[in-house]
Symmetry: C2
Subunit: 409 residues, 2 copies
């Protein structure tokens, strides 16, 4: 039975990530106006319809001139007009003529040079004199010198960040084919959530996981409501039954271990989910559960996070991001850096994600571990700016190289 | 006259940044529900009202036991009840008694040990036997071991990122005092904006600056409408007159140079703005203009960006971010890294921000410059992931250390 995978033993972090990156089917493609495309992934490469610049233009405020002379110093020109940026007329210069031109202005036909205003003396309303020698074609931006019509601007799979959006705007791109954004539901399981400080005396705790997941998804660009359900099999089953039809992803917290109240796995199986993996040899986040429900033309993925908030945080930064990106066909999105430890680290039987403070020193990235790494503790996230991967069963020494991801957001 | 600063000569990047960071007055403080505080800056430190954990609790699924024996291996206990996470009853154990307990469950009074379920054999409905020796107080999370009531959780000025928000949630923090978000208006000046490909033949260009600024501000968390106005003094003046009353920041593009159509500075002075600086010894972005309008209880800052899109991009990443952060009293927000050049670089008379591709190699950050750095070109933003600061008047060689900022967004 595919629902049962514990016997196979724990899988590694790399195996878990590879299963997410390869098993997850990409969502449908949609066409969006460019301005709505920020932070999406391109489903199709983008080619330019135009040359950039689209016409030869001045790079400075100055004068376009036409001269057949070799030496232009002290030459006088007749000023026959003015061209500003966005001016539509097509001008033409005869030998000995000049036109006042501003940055971005369209170069007149038969221009031989552009003289920036700093090397020009205005002799009268209609005459200028150059005070320096000038190289031909200096300070002209030529048609197509940045981009030729038909040239590729952006690759398939590329993320549309601010710079990409601006560059595509400059080429007049109006719309993009991107992958649809995942529809995500979040379910917090458990009876232990406190509403007020009084509830703490009754053995309850304030909920960090709901606010954490709402903020994390908001930052990713997805607005979610947080559902809370009790540790009761019937409620969990009904919830999954309803959500699996409408959502691409269900993220749960808690209830994925082997305790008597861990209903997420059995209820997932009850509602037709098939396990892709369960239990990863990592700290925090060992009980991580990943499953898929398949209907005609629809898949729903269940990412069952452990209940401890540090495990939720780490698993979202690593597996949550990998899952949401894979749904948009981006399967290599985690940006691993490499840095050097500032201290020794003890060995541990499981691979670990440690919250650390990274800083740059003389071109090197230094990594300083923080106290209070246990899975029920979050307070060191006030100082942490990265998660660092520490291999299992090895004692590391100061200066050794390890990899991690930044957590700026 | 304070409006005129060109004669003083160009200032350096550091001087310009220091003027923004010191001259800008912080906005008012507001109280927000914690969930609305993401990406804001704290106006007041946050202290914990509670201990974390708030009560001693089990770190595992297992049994809480009370035993006066030294050696617990093969000892049998009477199971007298069950405690799950969130269960409110106060239990007490007598010597030789055990209670089933789940992760997060409140430790009964007089508990001496917690035995994880892996080292327990269930002998009958009411009896268990330990199969291993057990250290006292293992697998117990003690009251206040992470945070003590009254302890500082977050510092004044700290940015509320996802991790901070989650950590504050866990301590039951309901509301935050943060600086108000700046109200920003964006004004694109110039007659050269093309609407269709036909307009390109008339010397116009597609607008990159409007979409760039809208996306940049959206990513920062501020929704803006983009205003377009022609290069006409009367229109620019009317626009500033209206906006200065209602906005904390006016960002303009174009019209800050010394061309005959550069109306931003004269119109700013006309409407009561005083110059803080004009012209920075940098490439791109030399004509950058910064001014302040002061009324009773209200300041409006004008950030006059050059018209070239690469200058707009670079100036927003550096000065735009510094300004919006300073308004929220965060005056050291640019996260400069240091990295090593992968190639030589020619000298230039101005300090430069070059768009580069940064990558990690054996704990070092390597910086590879990209082609097409001119200020009217943006296409290399498809590959760039950082802006690197190159000092003026110095030839740099491969392996030399330079600083920069990442541009992931």
């Amino acid at each position: 039975m595919s629902g049962c995978g514990a016997e196979k033993g724990l899988i590694s972090i790399d195996e878990a990530l590879a299963l997410i990156q390869t098993k997850v089917k990409a969502l449908a493609v949609e066409m969006l106006p460019l301005a709505k495309g920020l932070h999406r992934y391109l489903a199709k490469a983008v080619y330019s319809d135009v040359n950039l610049p689209s016409f030869s233009q001045s790079a400075v405020d100055g004068y376009a001139i036409n001269s057949s002379l070799e030496n232009l110093q002290d030459t006088v020109f007749d000023v026959v007009g003015e061209i500003k940026a966005g001016s539509g007329l097509n001008h033409q210069l005869a030998d000995g003529q000049a036109m006042r031109i501003f940055t971005g202005g369209k170069i007149p036909e038969r221009t031989t040079h552009v003289a920036r205003q700093e090397i020009v003396v205005v002799e009268s309303d209609s005459q200028i004199r150059l005070v320096e020698q000038l190289k031909p074609q200096a300070d002209i931006r030529f048609t197509g010198e940045e981009v030729q019509a038909g040239q590729q601007l952006a690759e398939i799979g590329q993320k549309v960040n601010i710079g990409a959006l601006a560059a595509l705007s400059m080429a007049g791109v109006q719309a993009l084919e991107v992958f649809r954004e995942p529809k995500v539901a979040v379910v917090i399981t458990g009876d232990e959530v406190a509403e007020t400080a009084e509830d703490l005396h009754a053995g309850k705790v304030f909920d960090a996981n709901g606010p954490l997941l709402k903020a994390w998804l908001q930052d990713y660009g997805i607005d979610v409501d947080i559902l809370h359900i009790a540790d009761e099999a019937e409620q969990v089953t009904q919830c999954f039954e309803r959500l699996k039809q409408h959502y691409d992803v269900i993220i749960t917290t808690g209830g994925v271990s082997v305790g008597d109240y861990d209903f997420v796995r059995p209820c997932a199986f009850e509602t037709g989910f098939e396990q892709i993996f369960w239990k990863v040899k990592q700290k925090p986040g060992k009980p991580l559960f990943f499953a898929e429900y398949t209907a005609q033309h629809h898949h729903c993925y269940l990412l069952g996070l452990p209940g401890n908030p540090a495990a939720v945080y780490v698993c979202m930064q690593i597996y949550g991001k990998a899952l949401l990106d894979a749904l948009q066909n981006q399967r290599q999105s985690l940006a691993w850096f490499s840095g050097l430890l500032t201290h020794d680290l003890k060995s541990d039987a499981r691979e670990r994600f440690l919250r650390m403070h990274a800083y740059f020193e003389q071109g090197q990235l230094k990594l300083q571990s923080l106290a209070k790494q246990q899975s029920h503790m979050l307070s060191n996230l006030m100082q942490a700016n990265c998660l660092v991967r520490i291999p299992a069963n090895i004692k590391l020494e100061v200066g050794q190289e390890v990899s991690g991801v930044f957590i700026h957001n």
